[in-house]
Subunit: 451 residues, 2 copies
């Protein structure tokens, strides 16, 4: 039986089959290396527990940059440097407070980039709306009140990012839409279908045409409670937040490079973002992407893999409240007329991988989709059109670079996203590692076969 099998393999093995086999063997070695000797989990523990939340401009941002440089060097980068980018410097400025009648304290977090109420706070009546449509219908009632956007995260989308896309407009545009009609402040139901009461922050964007009114996210249980109170009688609440901007400050993309052997002037970029919201440790968002990026470098070096193209491992600055790191990286690439083959980002959590999304031409997608069977044994075989990451999107938009985002399983992501429970303990070691394995395998394939 064994002899027959060997003969069969020998006779049937054309060059395509043996290339596939070679790839399959390489990816297996890669997987063994990461699952056996992986450092992503230990690195994540360091980043989250020793540094913690690292919003742009914070002292933790500076520490995280130094940590990133050192860790990329330890992982074996040929060179590591900091690419300067001016970043916004928003600070929360203290504890966010929302007090309902009978001194009941609700769990809230000021939205990122929002302005505080001032020391005296605001006391006003709450008006609940379920949508912008309802706001429009009731615009005459809004003046001087606190608008409570109680739009529920839609549970019916299987991919939870679709629920996020559906709901996030109330966080992004809600304050200015309410200010347009004279609202004093805004409360936004958190973008989550978690079963706990943690509020989920995240950036808001003021429209300069309207007053920049204070805004908070509220936990789901408190949102339901507040809504139930409003069914019974008018409710006034006391509201105090302290957010404000300090002058822009200097931040950095941290970049490690592994030089290419055949086309060193052509680049493949892989990265995540180093900044994270202040109330948590930024473990899934995006500590995971950071340590996966570094792990790919470590594994390639440990295996003695020498890429044809130069690979850049980039820890991007300021994804959360400005996107200045990603913008800067693309600007400099364009200014220097660099040739970029591909860019990959992990910024959807350190969960078990399911596949990748791509911004690429149909012809390129045809080529890419053939790699599905090589990734499938590691969980990441579902390759689809559409998807990148906020930090690499400028490369695609300004230079037409093919971009891709890792798509991990999305069910748990919005339990943690921008909330205080986005901590190391909620990341599983193997799920994190499998993400890195699939990313490394994809980079290996792009490096070998081009696009």
């Amino acid at each position: 039986m064994r002899i027959a099998l060997v003969l069969f393999c020998f006779l049937s093995a054309g060059s395509i089959a043996s290339a596939q086999q070679e790839d399959s063997i390489f990816i297996r070695r890669l997987s063994d290396e990461v699952l056996t000797n992986g450092k992503a989990y230990d690195n994540l523990r360091e980043l989250t527990k020793k540094i913690g939340g690292r919003l742009s401009g914070s002292p933790q941002m500076v520490k995280a940059e130094a940590w990133g440089k050192k860790t990329l060097e330890l992982a074996g980068a040929d060179k590591v440097w900091l690419q300067e980018a001016m970043v916004p410097h928003w600070v929360r400025g203290g504890k966010d407070i929302l007090t309902a009648p009978n001194a009941r304290s609700l769990d809230v977090l000021a939205l990122g980039n929002s302005y505080g109420t001032g020391e005296k706070g605001i006391r006003a009546q709450v008006i609940e709306v379920k949508s912008f449509d309802e706001l429009e219908q009731r615009k005459g009632e809004v003046k001087g009140k606190i608008v409570f956007y109680n739009y529920k995260f839609n549970p019916r989308f299987v991919e939870t990012f679709l629920s996020y896309i559906d709901a996030v407009k109330y966080r992004g545009q809600g304050p200015s839409q309410a200010a347009k009609y004279g609202a004093a402040a805004v409360i936004v139901r958190s973008m989550s279908h978690s079963t706990d009461n943690n509020p989920h922050t995240g950036a808001t964007r003021y429209d300069s045409a309207y007053a920049k009114i204070p805004a908070v996210a509220i936990g789901l249980q408190d949102a339901d409670w507040l809504s139930s109170q409003l069914q019974k009688a008018p409710v006034s609440v006391f509201f105090k937040t302290n957010g404000h901007f300090l002058p822009d400050t200097i931040g950095h993309n941290v970049i490690g490079e592994l030089a290419g052997t055949e086309s060193p002037q052509e680049y493949i970029t892989v990265g995540g973002h180093l900044d994270s919201w202040d109330p948590a440790e930024g473990a899934h968002d995006d500590g995971a992407g950071i340590v996966q990026t570094i792990e790919i470098l470590r594994a390639f070096k440990a295996m003695g893999f020498k890429p044809r193209h130069t690979i850049r491992f980039v820890l991007f600055a300021n994804e959360e409240n400005g996107g200045r790191g990603g913008t800067k990286y693309a600007e400099e690439a364009k200014a220097k007329n660099e040739k970029h083959l591909f860019a990959l980002e992990s910024d959807a959590g350190g969960f078990t991988p399911r596949g990748f999304g791509f911004e690429a031409s149909d012809q390129q997608l045809q080529k890419i989709f053939k790699w599905s069977s090589l990734l499938a044994p590691y969980g990441g075989g579902k390759l689809v059109k559409g998807g990148d990451g906020a930090d690499i999107e400028p490369l695609n938009k300004t230079m037409g670079v093919v971009t891709s985002g890792l798509n991990p399983d999305s069910q748990r992501y919005f339990d943690f996203h921008h909330a205080r429970n986005d901590v190391f303990e909620n990341v599983n070691k193997r799920e994190l590692e499998l993400g890195a394995i699939n990313m490394a395998a994809l980079i290996y394939l792009v490096d070998k076969y081009g696009l």
Copy 2:
């Protein structure tokens, strides 16, 4: 645009396409129903928090049976009954203790079905072996000692059940293999690659040819510590366990039925097991399978779905340390000459679904595999040959029934399996619900198209 689309759909819709479309619409409705109104998570909270661990013969087993009957009735079963099965009645009998030198207490759990040391305990020298091969080589040194099987859970398997299959022999056969050479007791490294120190229990099987010596599972950190001590010098430990059997007692499979409209005498079975190990709440193992089973019934009833075949929703007794429930169910089915079309089990945790495994003929598999694209949008599209569940295996073995097991993502399963952290808090609501959705969809397809 809308008119053009409607026309296109009308013209291109052949009967196959419209059947597929009908299925796709049904499954979407099913998904919406479960993700919007699902009761699986609330039911799991009740089962785990109000009843907890429910090993065969325990008072909690009796409570769980009553809960199961009531909950199946509430979910809308046409009838619910208890099917009696005699079950073994093993009790832990007290706290398991292992004390190393300098009074260092190690975290251990007696293996299920193991006999205790007696009141006085055992004090003996530890001999570490990495494998049965090493035990064989060193059999002359074993007499009177405590054999420590320190076989590591292999991290390289992507599917963690392969690591389990690889390692579990040390728990199952380890005590008797050591007793064969005169060992006094056994310590087994837990079958897990978790990062904590929780010991993982589970059933051992004594070979009646040898002494039934006491045996414990040890947490991974303690296993590594013990191994490191043994590198330096001989180590003796004190060891006390209290396990013993009481006489067999009466347990029950809890069975709910939804009568078929066309072939009520042909059965489809879906189930999980109601029993669980005592140190935890049995949330993933197998509370998840139980509440998913009940959820399928609830969703079918809520949707007004009337199956062609009779569907049995079975909460099996005694999977963990005897398998008597599954055996009884198949025995009675055979004795009554029942016609069983299909049986499905969920017993691999309430994690995000990836697919199903099947015990079926190649011809049946060809038919089944075509359903992959209908399940894929809900995560469960990976359909493979091989797989059932311990409770439905007897139906396959004795009656040739086609069986299937839900395959959720396996990365986290052995962090919790048979350990004290297998609790409600470690189950994600949506992951649990998606498992139920995929199971319900598969049952709908089997019911409609046969096998």
